[in-house]
Every structure is written in C-alpha cells, then in structure tokens.
Amino acid sequence: MKKMRISKKNLIALAGALAIYFLVSGLLSLGMISKFQEINLMLLGINIILAVSLNLIVGVTGQLALGHAGFMAIGAYVSAIFTMYLDKPFLLAIILGALAAALAGIIIGLPTLRLKGDYLAIATLGFGEIIRGITINIDYIGGAAGMIGIPRQTNWPYLFVMVVFTIVVIVNFLNSTHGRACVAIRENEIAAETMGINTTYYKVLAFAMGAFFAGIGGALYAHYFYLIQPTTFTFLRSFDILVMVVLGGLGSMTGSIIAAAGITIVNAALQDLAVLRMVIYAVLLIVVMVFRPQGLMGTKEFTLNRWVKKRGEVSESAGN
C-alpha cells in the first residue's frame, strides 16, 4: 500500500524549499552572510520550530501551556550530555533529546491536562520552573554555571532539515482525522468527547508532539551557542514563543512561521538601539494586536492550493 503520490503543489513546495536551501547555502559559502546574520538565521530557524510546535498545543488543541522553555531545556541538556560527555553523533543526540522532552510532555501532560485555561497555564509555568530548578542543582550538568563547550554542530543543513521536518510532520498531522480531533477539542471539548473522541489521548498526544519538537529546538540551540545555562530557559522564553504564536494567529501554522521569522528579524534589526529596542518591540506588538486581534493570519493558512487552483484537496502548507 505504500504509494507515493506527488501532486503538483507538493512539487512546487519541494522546489521552493530546495531553492531556499541552495540560495542560503550559496550565500554562506560565498561569505555574503555576516556572523551576526548567521546567528540570527539560526535563531530564526529554531524559533520557527518552537513556534510551530507550541501552536500545535496552544493554537490547535486549545491548551494554554507555558512550559515550552522547559521542554526546550530538556532537549538541550540531554542532547548536550550525549555529544559532550558520551561522544555520540549529533543526529542521535538530537533524537534522544527530543524523545526525552516528549517523555516529559507525557509525564507532565497526564496529570495537568485535566486542568483548563488559566489553571493549566499556571501548572505548566510551574513545570518550566521545576526544570530550571532541577538543572541548577545537578552538578553533572554544570549546576548554575551550566554546560560550557558544547561542540558547535548545528549548521545550516541540520537547521534546514529540522525546520522542514517539523513543519511537514505537524502540518500532515493537522490535515488528518487526528488533527481534526485536536481542533474539535479546542472548539468544544464536551461535544468532541460526545462524538467519540478520546480527548485525554489527543491532548496528551499534542502535548508530547509539541514537546518533542521543542526538544529538537533546544538541541539545535545548545549545539550552536556552545553554552547552555539554567537561566537560558526561563519562563520569559516560553512567553517569547507564545507571543509568536499569538501574533501569527492561533491555529495557523503559516502564521507562526511568519511571526517567528518576523520577530527574530525585528529583534536583530533593532539590536543597536539598546533600551529603545524593547520599547519599539512592545509598541509593534500592541499595534498588531489592536489592528489584527486574531493574529496576522487568524486561523487561516497560506496554501499553495490558491495558486495551483485545485479545490477540495487537503491543504498543504507552503513550507517556509
């Protein structure tokens, strides 16, 4: 039954992705991207992974969770242990870090996902702080000083593949009956349960998947910036990611991608303005929220269908 179906719009998406990949690769090898720009390129990719994965939990399934930095921390520390202390290959370390984060997602999700709205937010906020507390107190991973000298293995190919992997998996999941089950929980949990949907299962599944990709984001982060500390993953980072999701539009994956890219670029562009940067950043957010309270994309997706003119098929995101 394994049939490969490559439609016209999948080909266009593939071609677009390859174009972006080779364009950036070319610019990097020609030295046309400065060190500063490269750092922000990495941050941009990592932020896309984090925003898209948080959107699965908050925007799609409707569970307001504020512990994303915690999952990111688990992915970062676990992967760093495997590459730095145990000399394992980077890819394996990424996968193990992501799996550890997903496992934490399940353990945290099972008891807390019966809470709703602000109660869940506070519980997950607490979880993030617990992770930080734990990392401070384990000497093996450097305690409060953190881990220093993690091999720099995150590069453009790794980053690109992981970003595409995250988007494809989550978008494909969304455009299936399982994704619709998650959306049904957001829309009306009682009706969803009455329609035969195992709401607990899907909430925990969304949580675990979101945590998995946050773990990947953390692993990429750790292996680009040499150094991770407990203070790298405070709740402020969870809020940063949440801002991207809300700004892009809850439930819209293309919205999250645009917002993650936009915020990273704006942040980088305003770097020289020091204190004024935070003011401009805040004003920008307020302006967007006043004029587009539903987020940049609302719940809509930017799809290639509109361009290829093929109605009725399941929609496919345009990639990044």
């Binding site: 619709r180 049904a184 329609m195 599944l205």
Partner: protein, 256 residues
C-alpha cells in the same frame, strides 16, 4: 428485545437526589419520549446515559451489557449518540468538518500513516469525505458545506447537530429538546425528519421535549418525570389523561 434498560437508576448530588430509581426500557426501533416539568431531571438522565455523570446506584444496560463507568467517548463507540439542549456544534469549523469529526472514530488509519501520508491515509480520508458529503446531501445541507457552522440559521444548526450525531453511526439516538426555539412549521418539519431518520437509519430514539404536539405526535411510549421520579409511563393517550401528570404540570386543583 430491549436495546436499553436502566435498573433503579439513581444519582445524588450531595443531599439532593436528582434522579431516583428510574427504570427505562427501550425496545429496538422504538421512539420514546421523556417529558416533565423544568428541573425534573430529564437532561440528568441523558447525562447518565452518555457517561457524563456516573450513577450513585443502579445499572444501565445497552445491548445487555452494562455501560456504567464508561467514559462518554467509549459510550459513543458503543453506538449511542446524542444532541444537546443548547446546541454544541464546532462553531468555527465548516459544516463539512463538523461531520468529518464525527466520523473520526470510524477512521482506521494511524497517526503515523497520516504523518507519512501512506496509502491508508489517502484511502481513509477519501472514505470519510465520501460518507460526510453523502450525509450532508441527505440532510439537504450540501449548499452550506464550506460555511462556518455558527453562520447557519438556527433551524439548520439543529439539523446539522442531528446529522453530526448520525455520523457517529449510532443504534440509539438521544435528542435533547430538538424543537427548542423552533416555530410551528419548523417543528412539523422536524417531526417528519425524526420519523424519516428513524426509518432510514434503523434507529431507536429517546427524546426530551416540551413541545407537546411533537411528543404526542410521534412518540410511541412516553415517560413522565417529576422530581427525579417516573410518575407515569405509557402510550400518549394514557399520558394525556393521567391525573398525576396533569397535577405535575398544572398543580393540584388545576383545571383540565
């Protein structure tokens, strides 16, 4: 054979007994009504039957198996579907998606095959879509297919909710005040719809209703509930002339 039986079904909230020793017996293919004054415990019985509440004592047997303690989604998977007194559609989703979600538990492809877009995914999605579109056609809702559910006229929302319940392929359908807020013409159409749906889908139906034309018009067997207890049951003619029922609705000394 009885499709649904409750034996001494009782639930108490703290000191308040909301439903006491209720015995319902629904034959296969029967259309039964549950009536009673406000606060008599009708919706509570629905919530007990669908697993929202767990009975304090007593038993609920569906197809001769106890369904007490099952979660609502498990009860739906045993083929009991319901609608709600206050419509609970997935408001922000399209009419088609509302139906497709109800088909969810019949879908047979895994999360992995949807991520990898295997053949099972395409086959499963096609099947769900085909069935959903057919159901929309039967209910004359095809023209609203891509419309958000909340933008439908009130009567159509009621119909969509019934269609969605049927998408779960139930044997027993529970309708909680399906005619609430409808005008006489809409109510008549609804009666035709209920009768027709029952034939077409081979259903057993239990409905709660305040509209007596509807209840007396289509129900074969009626249970009257007051203060959580069944005070009368029988054919519509018997209920209409029952002293205790009149008393419950109009009060003691009320005129006929």
């Amino acid at each position: 054979m009885n499709l649904l039986e409750t034996k001494d079904l009782t639930i108490s909230f703290g000191g308040l007994t909301a439903v006491a020793n209720v015995n319902l017996n629904l034959k296969k293919g029967e259309l039964a009504g549950l009536i009673g004054p406000n606060g008599a415990g009708k919706t509570t019985i629905f919530n007990l039957l669908t697993g929202v509440y767990r009975p304090t004592s007593g038993d609920i047997r569906f197809e001769n198996k106890s369904i007490v303690g099952l979660k609502p989604y498990q009860i739906t998977q045993r083929a009991i579907a319901r609608t709600f007194q206050n419509i609970r559609l997935f408001n922000e989703l399209s009419v088609l998606d509302n139906i497709r979600i109800a088909y969810h538990w019949h879908s047979n492809y895994s999360v992995l095959s949807s991520i990898l877009r295997l053949g099972a995914f395409h086959k499963g999605e096609k099947e769900i879509r085909k069935r959903s579109e057919k159901l929309l056609e039967i209910f004359n809702l095809s023209r609203y297919r891509d419309e958000k559910a909340c933008n439908l006229p009130y009567g159509e929302q009621r119909r969509l909710e019934i269609a969605r319940a049927l998408a779960a392929k139930p044997k027993l359908l529970l309708l909680d005040e399906p005619a609430a807020g409808m005008n006489p013409q809409e109510t008549r159409d609804l009666m035709d719809l209920i009768n027709w749906v029952r034939q077409e889908f081979n259903l057993t139906i239990l409905l709660i209703e305040h509209d007596m034309t509807l209840v007396m018009g289509i129900c074969e067997h009626i249970y009257v509930l007051d203060y959580g207890q069944v005070i009368a049951e029988g054919k519509p003619e018997d209920i209409r002339n029952n002293e205790r029922v009149i008393e419950a609705y109009l009060g003691r000394g009320g005129e006929r």
